[in-house]
């Protein structure tokens, strides 16, 4: 049934919101996720984005809806996964989370409320990327982490999608970043936490 909370979200539909600021690769992450789901996992997905007028540094959100059938309403209504990369985004999106929603944060960028339950999963992706020598791969590290801690998209599809989306000549570096995040997720994540929607 449609209700105000769930809207028109049908069974088998998963919603992911990635929010931060411009320049963090938020939209590219959404693109990689959407592409993984619709091309490499052979399902359906829709990616939408919203951002402020600034080319860099303004707030930026990407929303991915994934389903096994064509998608009607293309926007997130009750997210299954949130990837939060700025305090501003945290303040905006941490309220009224649906039960079972998984939140992933970069602890160097976001200080969550101690009372938040369940506590968000943390990965210091920006720091890890800096240690690798290139902060731009932070988003790829997070995608690797997501692949390890959720069942939304197969790790294989996500990895293929990463390789198809990054600049030529950087495939190896991005694979390393993806695997770094993936292994971090296996170690620190809580697999199976994501609700079925």
């Amino acid at each position: 049934m449609l209700d105000n909370k769930q809207g028109c979200k049908s069974l088998g539909t998963k919603e992911i919101r990635i929010a931060g600021f411009g320049g963090q690769g938020v939209v590219l992450s959404g693109l990689i996720l959407g592409q993984a789901a619709s091309i490499y996992d052979d399902g359906f997905s829709a990616l939408t984005q919203s951002y402020g007028p600034e080319a860099r540094g303004g707030s930026c959100t990407a929303e991915v809806v994934i389903s096994d059938e064509p998608i009607g309403y293309p926007y997130v209504q009750s997210p299954n996964v949130l990837i939060i990369l700025s305090q501003e985004a945290y303040n905006k999106y941490s309220q009224d989370l649906p039960a079972g929603a998984l939140m992933i944060i970069d602890p160097d960028l976001v200080k969550p409320e101690p009372s938040q339950n369940p506590a968000p999963l943390s990965i210091p992706a920006t720091r890890m990327a800096r240690d690798m020598g290139r902060t731009v791969v932070a988003n790829i590290i997070i995608l690797g982490f997501l692949a390890a801690v959720s069942d939304l998209i197969s790790p294989e599809a996500l990895k293929n999608s990463v390789l198809a989306s990054v600049p030529k000549g950087t495939e190896e570096f991005n694979t390393k970043a993806f695997e770094l995040g993936y292994n971090y997720g296996l170690e620190h994540g809580r697999k199976g936490e994501v609700a079925d929607g």
């Binding site: 049934m1 449609l2 209700d3 105000n4 809207g7 028109c8 959404g30 693109l31 959407g34 592409q35 619709s38 091309i39 359906f44 997905s45 829709a46 990616l47 939408t48 984005q49 919203s50 951002y51 007028p53 998608i71 009607g72 309403y73 293309p74 926007y75």
Partner: protein, 383 residues
Amino acid sequence: MPEDGALCGTFFMNGDVACAEGAISAGCRFFAGYPITPATEVAERMSERLPHVGGIYIQMEDEIASMNAILGASWAGLKAMTSTSGPGFSLMMENLGLGVMLETPCVLVNIQRAGPSTGLPTMAAQGDMMQARWGSHGSYEIIALVPSSPQEIFDLTITAFNLSERYRVPVLVMSDEAVGHMSEKVVIPRISPKELVSRRRPDGTQEQYLPYKADEDLVPPMAIAGEGYRFHVTGLTHDERGYPVMTVEAQDQLVRRLVDKIRLNKKDIIRYEEVGVEDAEVIVCAYGISTRVARLAVQEARNAGIRAGMLRLITVWPFAEDRIRELAQQVKAFVVPEINYGQIVLEVERCAAGKASTLLVPHMGGGVHHPQTILKAIKEAVQ
């Protein structure tokens, strides 16, 4: 990539990019434009792709110039397109009329954003639907297609070129920011030349060629510049020779033909999709992005025991008036969701002619309807 440079395969791309790829698959080899959110990505894609397929991209000084440049390119024999939004669409209206008057095949894409004026540049609306029909001065008919997904904007951009070449009229692709900026799976098939239409060319001798002597379907064959026909065309009212004639009779003859070539061929032009209308007591009549939401609301209404159906308009102009007149005999009501404060609902109301009621579900722009809002209207309509 095949020899001719057209893409082929399955891609995850946004509507703007899919539109550009549709144009290239349709044989478009000239693009003139001016940057404007949220249509810029169409131009960007064309600037990247056209050099590889033997085409030309030019960024003009404004949208007025862009519209004129595609008309010129079309008269040089190329399939030509421009894309714009909001204020740019307004600026193109003057020479959209020239395109109609000179009977120039070309495609104008409007990725609609919320207005009036600068409005919400990065957010969706369907507020230009009546402007698409009536935006240039004078009496004329136009063709406007409305896609609801990146896949469909690819498909309909090809259709737009085909209809434009077939009827020698500018064709509008009236998309919106939601479709333009949404990325989805887009399957790009190998388009065979048989699927593409090219304008009919004159086959008589150059001496006897009359630029505006129409064939039986009211469409005149079109010569192009540089072939020795030495024809004249003008935005003034003209006769079959293309010469200005400032009389009521010439005006009557010309305007009637310009309008009738669309009206009398509307069966070939009009496209729509029906979902569950056979037994429907209420029909949601929607177009573009709104149809995706409407579909969900209709399903939900069916689950709730309401005999709801949907008429999805794919061509908004010419309007599917015959079909709506028929359906009005059968249903209690039409529900019309649109991202404006009531435009196409006026057409539905006109065709329903009191036989069925009409209920507008407006959205002032900046997003799409929530399915719940449409469901509520469906319930209200059958009470």
